[in-house]
């Protein structure tokens, strides 16, 4: 699962930074049928979390109500230089993760 995560490379201490997460995923609703009429199993990213130097700053439960290639944007306070770790899992148990580092002056 490819993901595109955008955070500023550097920030001032205490600054509120924008975090944008875009994950490539079909987000199958479980209500669609394939060409031969079989129901396509639901497969959505149901959990997404963001940890900032090991501390969870954001978490989301998603469902089939979220568009394909889920996009989530949120904010966090730039606290210390370090890493933001993103982790997500879908209904099939496929996990994905991504790391981004941030410099805090």
């Amino acid at each position: 699962m490819a993901a595109r995560i955008q955070i500023p490379a550097s920030a001032k201490k205490g600054e509120i930074v924008e975090v944008r997460v875009l994950i490539q995923h079909p987000m199958e609703t479980g209500y669609r049928h394939d060409d031969v009429g079989h129901l396509i199993k639901r497969n959505v990213i149901n959990f997404l979390s963001c940890r900032y130097n090991g501390v969870e700053v954001f978490r989301a439960d998603l469902s089939s109500g979220i568009a394909a290639n889920p996009y989530v944007q949120f904010f966090t306070v730039a606290d210390k230089s370090g890493e933001l770790e993103f982790y997500w899992i879908d209904d099939e148990g496929k996990q994905g993760s991504e790391r981004q580092s941030i410099q805090v002056a």
């Binding site: 979220i66 889920p70 949120f74 904010f75 966090t76």
Partner: protein, 142 residues
């Protein structure tokens, strides 16, 4: 009835067809487990019209200082007409700095979208926004 009264009544009833609903979605009320969910502090921003319900941008903001003592714990999104009413739950904390979430949702038809925010002081707030969806997100085959 006089013709004038009749026409005045007709004009009044046509002006705003049932779109100005201001009550909380009963499914959305469940999250508060009986606690009152008041209108205010939360703002849901949706386009007025979406050509395609498969991807509709949504923004939810909550008025909150986002400090350790007073912050938004979670934001819950509900749809009136989707088969899965609870579209997403977002969990924030004082580390968020700003209580704002942007995402894209699927909507099965014209409806109201409700956002409920749970605050650290135990209160619940909501806001709803109406949207007209020309083409619903895929439920039926086409």
């Amino acid at each position: 009835m006089r013709r004038r009264d009749f026409l005045a009544g007709l004009a009044g009833s046509l002006a705003f067809p049932a779109i100005a609903q201001e009550t909380l979605d009963p499914l959305a009320a469940k999250i508060a487990k009986g606690a009152p969910v008041r209108k205010g502090r939360v703002t849901v921003t949706l386009p007025q019209l979406a050509d395609n319900g498969n991807s509709v941008p949504i923004r939810v903001t909550v008025e909150s200082p986002m400090t350790e003592a007073d912050h938004v714990k979670s934001i819950h999104l509900y749809s009136e007409r989707n088969p899965v009413s609870n579209m997403a739950n977002f969990y924030l904390g004082p580390r968020a700095g700003k209580a704002e979430i942007n995402s894209r949702v699927r909507l099965a038809g014209s409806q109201h979208v409700t956002a409920v925010a749970a605050l650290s002081d135990g209160t619940f707030w909501y806001d709803a926004a109406a949207i007209v969806v020309t083409l619903s997100a895929c439920l039926d085959e086409s």
